[in-house]
């Protein structure tokens, strides 16, 4: 469904493009995107914790494989009842879902981006945030010693549900340290924070992410490990045939 669903990885495993001196908001945003899109391919494990308002916690584990901008594979490892479930995302708005319980692959087409992904606080859209420049018009709200603070307004045709985002771009890493999401009535809806940035094979990678839905009092915490970049993943890893192999 979600062409960019795996682009979460892009967001997570950003490289280290730098920006000499710029106060042009579009350039800053472009630099953020370039940083996020730097590696050729990547593989990572992701541990997710979903915490509801009462403190109930659910955990999810998955691996993500990505090559270029049109080949992604997500594989669930836990909980047990979804172990082996795989998502292969090859073209815009189409993905293949493998359900091991039925030994079956099903094609899933979708244009819904504002639904939450697998019970997390990330929508499919949130996870696809590598095409900021295409979707948003940025303006500079503030500049501090550490951050450019950008306000991102959706472009008219972008079908985005948020009224706007506010992004704190780290001047050193050119990665967003924090993003605030405002709902269609311009009330604060969610806050994304990215911390524990590590340089992995030359690419700057935040390894701890939290997305908090302040309206529902629900939170998703993600930890990234076993990150590998540029291992020249073969194309056949991104086929229906391999989707079943688990």
């Amino acid at each position: 469904m979600y062409r960019k669903s795996c682009l979460l990885v892009l967001l997570l495993l950003g490289g280290g493009a730098t920006l000499a001196s710029a106060s042009d908001p579009v350039q800053i945003l472009q630099a953020v995107e370039d940083t996020l899109n730097a590696p050729v391919d990547r593989e990572a494990n992701l541990a997710m914790e979903l915490i509801d308002a009462k403190g109930n916690t659910k955990t999810r584990e998955l691996t993500i494989l990505q090559k270029g901008s049109d080949k992604k594979l997500i594989r669930f490892l836990s909980p047990a009842d979804v172990r082996g479930v795989g998502l292969l995302v090859l073209e815009d708005d189409v993905m293949y879902l493998y359900m091991p319980a039925f030994a079956k692959i099903r094609r899933i087409a979708s244009h819904v981006k504002n639904e939450n992904f697998m019970g997390t606080d990330f929508t499919y859209d949130d996870m696809a945030q590598s095409d900021y420049v295409e979707k948003y018009t940025p303006t500079i709200e503030d500049e501090t010693d550490q951050h450019y603070v950008l306000k991102l307004a959706p472009k008219p045709d972008s079908e985005i549900d948020y009224s706007h985002l506010v992004m704190w771009v780290n001047r050193k890493t050119m990665l967003p340290d924090k993003v605030e999401f405002y709902d269609s009535s311009a009330n604060l809806l969610k806050i994304l924070t990215q911390t524990n940035v590590q340089r992995i094979e030359g690419y700057l990678t935040p390894t701890h992410l939290e997305m908090e839905d302040v309206q529902e009092n629900h939170k998703t915490v993600m930890e990234l490990d076993n990150v590998v970049h540029d291992q020249e993943l073969p194309d056949k890893r991104f086929t229906q045939r391999y989707l079943k192999r688990f």
């Binding site: 009842d81 319980a101 087409a109 979708s110 939450n116 697998m118 019970g119 229906q240 045939r241 079943k244």
Partner: protein, 996 residues
């Protein structure tokens, strides 16, 4: 009368106090709130209320507010745009947890090889041209998911459903929603439905009715008072008293934060109509004294009047209090509160009559005597009253027989007494909200949800299957529509992805489908507490309380008798043949039951024993052989697999593919091949060169083909059986046939699955060792939601009625027994009241008026006022009789004086209550005319039945009926023969003279 001295000495202080208190409470009155929440009828610690609120908290709120737009065809761009605007603005309200509408609903449709997930109408992409709109209309109306839940069947009404968070003020949200709707443009007819709007509407009409009816009653009572006395103070004093006591009562309620309800809203009218009697008594007595004792000082006159009237007024007040205080024993909070504050009001009215009126009168100049018109008791009606007396004397036994007949009628009627607790029934049929609810019932299956809470491991297929079966059962119940839960969502996803509408048999199967809906907003209403609780909801398509209760009872019966609390997972393939046969038999019976539910839902009829017989013909699906036609289908499917991108083996030679397909088809037709057989076949038929670079491919292919072949074989078995069943149920309406076939197919699919559930107590002991202990699961199921609360309310209203009458009767008996120093006296005095109340019940049954939170109070009003009549009558009769009048003469005198006064009082109280007919709240209207009738009956009973009873029983508390021992005289008087016994001849002479 020392208290009069104090009163007169402190009159300035007291009056200042009265004025100040009145000002204070009048100010409080401005903030009096109205509580229209039906949950508050019950005590808040009632388990059902607690459970209802818990369900609300856990599942995103259980109050719905619905806005419907009606136009010829809602599939036009303007209406859809309006729906979209409403949806977004409602969503922006912080108290709203979810909004569902055509412009914000997830749509899943089948596409080749998979599904498409999207919004029915994409955001900001409302179709503009007619063709697109027609396509949208046809598609939307074709799906059960939308038809009858978001859009009416003929596409002329669309619904926007808003779920309100638990704890938020429903009326506030509803008001805000109304404002939002009013701010949008459009020609559509707008409806507001659901509990939140009902509450707003009820609050509005209670306010309106109070504002309109209270002045009207006041005016009417003023006219009656003025017509009777022709003096301004006769109007102002009694009326002032009740108005002040009403202000104090309601002001106090507001001050201490008690909100007005549909029951206590009757208090003002009640107090004005009933309470003014006390003031009238006092004023009347004062008038008498002032006319009798000219030249005495005003204060002395006042003292004299008060000394005679205070006790009767207190008695009248106390008896009325008794009627209302009896409600303290009611289980329903709303009735209890009414009892408390109505009693308080009566108490204050009594007290103020005794304080306020004398003080004011002590300041006023004595009334000018008007001897020409002799006060309220004129003599023009004496003839009628005399005739009545004669009638009573002549037909005492007939009258008693009439009473007995009424009691028998009541015994027949009372069990048939209908109850009504649904708020919707409070509204007139032509009211806005009632029309909206009628529309909801007709086009959307109702607006009141049935809720069933399931506790257990919800992702366990056995539990989901129990839920799914329960939903199938719910669909068979009359007036129950659209059951929904995560179980049928899973079944539907299974149909979309695997072509079978049923619950998968394994936890993994469930998990793989659940994956799709995890985190979706709709899940908030379906599962909670980390998937250990689920909610099944259905719409109640009627507001009729007895029908609602019938449904509640059917559900309760199903939950307790048909559902198993403890279940055990078994794998059929791992069991001994004999045990497996046992379990399969049970399995077939269960499947038959599901099919029977489906058949009943879709309008088919099945001989119940037919289905299991049919299912038994299945035998083992793995070992059935297939015909040529089926072989063609199988080879087509195998061919498609090898041609597809997901084929595990890439075979580039078409000839080899054909060979493999042919070989596999042959292998598959007699029975389901094992994975090893398939692997061997692949290795044998396919040259090794095709998988040399990827040796694992053969194993993956063997595994994939095993599942594929097995599933195809199952499909064939299930299809064949489904067709047989659907054909034998020939009377399914055409439009239901497809859905019926789909559901039966899903039901039968359960039979071919390897995993099954068995109730823990149904496992044969010899089988226990074959079943892993980890396979046990348990669930508990509780009914919640409004319908079961309605049932509780219904029962409570009935109990309240019985208990309040019992308490009132007991107190009245004690009071009257004490008053007349006689147990018989107490019992006899009860009879007219009892008969009046019985008459009321008979009348209610005869004209089909239900017992509800308001009409339950009629009995108490009847007691409160009826006893006054009884006391007045008996006191006067006793006095006349004991003063030596013959019983006939005593009756004549009593009827001319007290009897007449009773009738006048009944008439004036009746007038007061009849004003309620002009109100907008249906139960209040009914209350109005029922009390009016009751007043007449009560008055008549106390002047006919009561004397008849006294005369027949010759009750001793009245006097010595056998006092003329020396003889009896029969006096023939026109129509009647009657026996008069008198003590001395003079009196007898007199009475004879009178009667002739």
């Amino acid at each position: 009368m020392r208290w009069m001295d104090y009163l007169l000495r402190l009159r300035l202080v007291i009056m200042a106090g009265v004025v100040l208190l009145t000002a204070f409470f009048a100010y409080q009155l401005t903030t009096l709130k109205i509580d229209s929440e039906i949950l508050n009828y019950l005590p808040q610690d009632d388990p059902l209320v607690i459970s209802f609120r818990e369900v609300g908290e856990r599942f995103g709120g259980n109050s719905l507010a619905m806005v419907a737009l009606e136009t010829d065809n809602i599939f036009n761009s303007r209406t859809l745009a309006r729906i979209d605007t409403l949806t977004m603005r409602f969503q922006a309200l912080p108290e709203v947890s979810q909004v569902l509408s055509l412009t914000d609903i997830l749509d899943i449709r089948k596409i080749p090889g998979g599904i498409e997930v999207g919004k029915l109408i994409r955001r900001a992409r409302i179709p503009q041209n007619p063709q697109e709109l027609d396509v949208l209309r046809d598609y939307t109306l074709s799906k059960e998911m939308y038809r009858g839940s978001l859009v009416s069947e003929n596409g002329n009404i669309a619904l926007v459903i808003v779920r309100i968070r638990e704890g938020a003020s429903k009326t506030d949200v509803a008001e805000k929603m109304k404002a939002i709707v009013k701010a949008t443009q459009g020609n559509e007819k707008v409806y507001y439905a659901g509990v939140a709007f009902q509450m707003v509407f009820l609050t509005d009409i209670i306010t309106q009715d109070l504002a309109r009816l209270v002045p009207l009653v006041t005016l009417l009572v003023s006219v009656v008072l003025y017509a009777s006395f022709r003096r301004k103070r006769a109007v102002l004093l009694p009326l002032g008293t009740v108005l002040i006591s009403t202000i104090w009562t309601l002001g106090l309620m507001s001050w201490i934060g008690v909100e007005l309800t549909i029951a206590s809203a009757a208090i003002p009218v009640l107090l004005i109509a009933v309470g003014s009697a006390y003031g009238i008594h006092i004023f009347n007595k004062y008038l008498e004294e002032s006319e009798a004792g000219e030249g005495i000082s005003r204060e002395a006159m006042m003292r004299q009047a008060m000394s005679k009237v205070a006790l009767p007024v207190v008695m009248a007040g106390v008896t009325t209090l008794i009627g209302f205080l009896a409600f303290l024993f009611s289980y329903l909070t709303i009735i209890q509160l009414f009892g408390v504050f109505a009693s308080l009001g009566v108490f204050l009215a009594t007290l103020l009559s005794l304080v306020f009126i004398p003080i004011v009168l002590s300041w006023l100049s004595p009334p000018r005597p008007r001897r020409a018109r002799k006060g309220p008791v004129a003599s023009s009606g004496n003839g009628i009253m005399d005739k009545l007396a004669d009638l009573v004397l002549a037909h005492e036994r007939l009258i008693l027989a009439g009473g007995v007949v009424l009691l028998i009628a009541a015994a027949i009627a009372i069990p048939r007494l209908r109850r009504e607790v649904n708020m919707v029934e409070y509204f007139k049929h032509d009211s806005e909200i009632r029309m909206a609810e009628d529309m909801m019932e007709a086009d959307f299956g109702g607006s009141v949800p049935i809720q069933i809470l399931v506790d257990g491991d919800i992702k366990d297929p056995l539990i989901l299957k129990q839920m799914y079966m329960l939903e199938k059962y719910l669909r068979t119940l009359p007036d129950v529509n659209d059951p929904q839960s995560v179980a049928d969502l899973i079944a539907e996803l299974n149909e979309q992805l695997n072509d079978r509408r049923t619950i998968p048999d394994t936890r993994e199967g469930v998990g793989n489908l659940w994956f799709f809906i995890e985190g979706n907003k709709v899940m908030e209403q379906l599962v909670a507490e980390n998937d250990t609780q689920a909610l099944i909801q259905a719409k109640m398509g009627t507001v009729n309380t007895s029908k609602v209760i019938a449904v509640v009872d059917s559900i309760s019966r199903y939950l307790s008798e048909e559902m198993s609390a403890d279940l055990v997972h078994v794998r059929l393939s791992a069991l001994d043949d004999s045990i497996r046969a046992d379990i399969l038999e049970r399995h077939a019976a269960e499947t038959a039951r599901m099919i029977a539910f489906d058949a009943s839902h879709y309008g088919a009829e099945f001989p119940p024993e037919y289905i299991p017989a049919l299912l038994r013909t299945t035998g083992s699906p793995s070992s059935l052989s297939f015909d040529r036609e089926q072989a063609t289908i199988m080879s087509g499917i195998l061919d498609a697999y090898f041609q597809s991108d997901e084929a595990d083996l890439v075979i580039t030679s078409e000839a080899v593919v054909q060979d493999v397909v042919a070989a596999l088809t042959k292998l598959s037709m007699e029975q389901t091949p094992t994975e090893n057989e398939i692997r061997d076949l692949l290795r044998r038929v396919i040259p090794a060169s095709f998988y040399a670079s990827d040796p694992e491919a053969v194993d993956f292919a063997a595994s994939a083909l095993t599942s594929l072949i097995q599933e195809e074989r199952y499909k064939m078995v299930v299809s064949r059986l489904t067709e047989e069943i659907v054909e034998s149920a020939g009377d399914v309406p055409e439009e239901n046939l497809q859905a019926f076939r789909r559901d039966v197919y899903g039901d039968i699919w359960c039979l071919v699955q390897d995993h099954a559930g068995v109730p823990a107590d149904a496992i044969p002991p010899r089988a226990t060792f074959q079943i892993p202990s980890a396979g046990a699961t348990s669930l508990s199921v509780t009914q919640s939601g409004m319908p079961i609360i309605f049932k509780k309310l219904d029962l409570s209203i009935l109990k309240s009625q019985a208990l309040s009458l019992l308490v009132a009767f007991t107190l009245v008996f004690l009071l009257l027994g004490f008053r007349f120093r006689s147990i018989t006296g107490g019992l006899i005095a009860l009879v007219p009241i009892a008969v009046t109340i019985m008459f009321n019940f008979v009348l209610m049954v005869a004209i089909n008026v239900p017992l509800d939170a308001v009409s339950v109070m009629i009995g108490s009003v009847a007691v409160g006022i009826g006893i006054d009549y009884t006391i007045h009558f008996l006191t006067r009769f006793q006095r006349e009789f004991q003063q030596g009048q013959s019983e006939k003469a005593a009756l004549h005198i009593t009827l001319r004086t007290t009897g007449r006064a009773i009738l006048i009082n009944a008439a004036s109280v009746m007038m007061g209550f009849l004003v309620l007919i002009l109100g907008n709240i249906v139960p209040m209207q009914r209350f109005g005319y029922l009390v009016a009738v009751t007043m007449v009956v009560s008055a008549l009973a106390s002047i006919t039945l009561l004397p008849a009873l006294v005369l027949t029983t010759r009750a001793r508390f009245i006097g010595e009926f056998d006092r003329m021992a020396e003889g009896m005289q029969r006096i023939v008087n026109g129509k009647a023969r009657l026996v008069i016994k008198t003590l001395n001849p003079d009196k007898r002479q007199k009475s004879i003279g009178e009667s002739s």
